[in-house]
C-alpha cells in the first residue's frame, strides 16, 4: 500500500538529461544543493550523466537515481539514494524538485515517501540519513513529517551569499518509517492503493499517446 497519487519514480532515460540539466542550471535550485555553486554547465552535465548512468539494476549498487514523474506535470524532480552501505544497511536520501511551484508541497512529500519506501521495502535498508540546510524550511518540514528524527545541527556549516548557515542531519530508522506509514494509513485509509497502480496507469497512458502519434 502507498499514498494514492499519480506521482511515481522511474529510472532516468537519456531523454531526461536536458530537463535535469535545466533544473541544475537554475540559480534558485542550486542555492539548495550541496557543492560548489560556481560549477560550470559542462561540469554539471558531466556530473548528471555519470549519476544517471549508474546501474540501479545491479544487485548491490552504491547509489540509485530516479526521476520523479507525473502524468499531469511530466518530470518534476530527481531522487538520489546514495552512499548505500550494504554492511550497515544504510543510505542517504536527497530529493530535488525542479519544478518551483511543486517544491515543499504534496508532490515533494509523495516523492520522498516513495524514495523511503524504495529504500526500506525494496533495498531492505535499516536507516536513511537526510541532510538539509537550515534555510530550506519547506524541505525541513517535509522531512520532519516523514517521521525522521532531527539528530544533528551542524552550526555554520555551509556558506551561501557570504553568510554561514547551519545544516541539519535527520535519521530515519526502518521501524520509525513503518510507524509513520501506519499512521498515514490510519489517517487516510481512502488514500491507499497498490504502490505501482499510478505508475502503471501513467505508463499505459504514455504508451497510448506514443501509439497515437
Amino acid at each position: 500500500m502507498a499514498i494514492k497519487s499519480s506521482i511515481y519514480l522511474r529510472r532516468a532515460e537519456r531523454e531526461d538529461l536536458d530537463v535535469v540539466v535545466e533544473w541544475m542550471e537554475d540559480p534558485d535550485f542550486l542555492y539548495f544543493l550541496y557543492g560548489d555553486p560556481a560549477r560550470s554547465p559542462k561540469r554539471i552535465r558531466e556530473q548528471i550523466v555519470s549519476m544517471l548512468g549508474r546501474n540501479a539494476s545491479q544487485s548491490m549498487p552504491g547509489g540509485v537515481y530516479f526521476i520523479v514523474d507525473s502524468p499531469r506535470y511530466g518530470p518534476i524532480g530527481l531522487i538520489a539514494i546514495q552512499n548505500i552501505s550494504w554492511r550497515n544497511r544504510s543510505c542517504s536520501v536527497d530529493t530535488y524538485i525542479g519544478e518551483k511551484k511543486l517544491r515543499g508541497g504534496f508532490a515533494s512529500a509523495v516523492a520522498l515517501f516513495r524514495a523511503l519506501e524504495y529504500a526500506f521495502h525494496e533495498l531492505n535498508l535499516h536507516r536513511a540519513t537526510l541532510y538539509v540546510y537550515a534555510f530550506n524550511k519547506a524541505s525541513r518540514r517535509l522531512i520532519e513529517r516523514s517521521g525522521a528524527v532531527h539528530e544533528l545541527t551542524m552550526r555554520e556549516h555551509v556558506a551561501r551569499g557570504g553568510t554561514l548557515y547551519d545544516m541539519y542531519g535527520y535519521g530515519l530508522l526502518r521501524r520509525e518509517f513503518e510507524t509513520f506509514r501506519n499512521e498515514v494509513a490510519e489517517r487516510m485509509p481512502e488514500a491507499l492503493l497498490e504502490a505501482n497502480q499510478a505508475a502503471e496507469a501513467a505508463a499505459a497512458a504514455k504508451q497510448g499517446g506514443e501509439s497515437a502519434s
Binding site: 552501505s85 544504510s90 532531527h150 539528530e151 551542524m154 552550526r155 554561514l164 542531519g169 535519521g171
Partner: protein
C-alpha cells in the same frame, strides 16, 4: 619535528605504518576508520604506508605523537573541508584510552587548533566519536568541543549497532587552546 614539553610531534613516516597496526587493533572500532558510507575500513600496512606518504596541499599530513620515551602513542591530522565553508575535520587518535589524559594529548590538540584557527583561519573544527570512544569524547568536551548531535545506529559491527557523535569547536571558543596572539609591532 616539534619538541614539546611532554613529547614530540612529527610527520608520520611510512615506517610508522606498523605502529598503526599495533596501536589500533580491529577489535575496537574507531570513527577514524569509517569511510563516507560509515563502513569500517582497516587499511593494510601497505595502505597506511601510502597514506603517510601522500602529500596533498589541502590536507595536513599525518603526524605521529611520541611520548618522552620516544614511543609513538597516536596519530593526528586535520582534513580540510570543501571551500564552501571554512572548517576542517580533526583526527586525534591514541592507541590507549589513558593516553587522552596524558599531557602530550593536550599538546597535540593545541598544535592542531593552532594550525586550524591561526594558520588556516578556519571558523571551526569538527570531530567524530563512536559511542565506544568514551575517552576521546571526554577529552574533547573537556576542552570546549560541543556536541552537534548523535546519528543513531549508523554502524553495524561485532553484532550490534553503534551510534556516531559529531562534535565541533569554534575558533571563538578555542582561546584556551591557543597561545596568546601578540599585537603587531608598530
Amino acid at each position: 619535528m616539534i619538541r614539546t614539553e611532554h613529547g614530540v610531534i612529527r610527520t608520520a613516516d611510512p615506517d610508522d605504518a606498523n605502529a598503526v597496526r599495533r596501536l589500533f587493533p580491529p577489535d575496537r572500532p574507531r570513527a577514524f576508520f569509517l569511510d563516507r558510507r560509515r563502513e569500517l575500513t582497516y587499511p593494510t600496512v601497505d595502505e597506511f604506508w601510502q597514506i603517510f606518504n601522500q602529500r596533498d596541499a589541502s590536507h595536513l599530513p599525518f603526524y605521529a605523537v611520541e611520548d618522552l620515551a620516544g614511543q609513538v602513542q597516536g596519530f593526528i591530522t586535520l582534513r580540510a573541508s570543501t571551500s564552501e565553508a571554512s572548517f576542517g575535520e580533526l583526527v586525534l587518535m591514541f592507541g590507549h584510552e589513558e593516553a587522552y589524559e596524558a599531557p602530550f594529548a593536550e599538546e597535540a590538540l593545541q598544535f592542531l587548533c593552532q594550525t586550524a584557527f591561526r594558520e588556516r583561519r578556519m571558523n571551526k573544527v569538527v570531530a567524530q566519536c563512536l559511542d565506544t570512544e568514551t575517552a576521546c569524547r571526554a577529552f574533547l568536551t573537556a576542552r570546549g568541543f560541543e556536541s552537534d548531535g548523535v546519528q543513531r545506529e549508523v554502524l553495524y559491527t561485532q553484532g550490534c549497532w553503534r551510534d556516531l557523535e559529531s562534535l565541533s569547536l569554534f575558533s571563538a571558543n578555542a582561546a584556551a587552546l591557543l597561545p596568546r596572539e601578540e599585537a603587531p609591532a608598530r
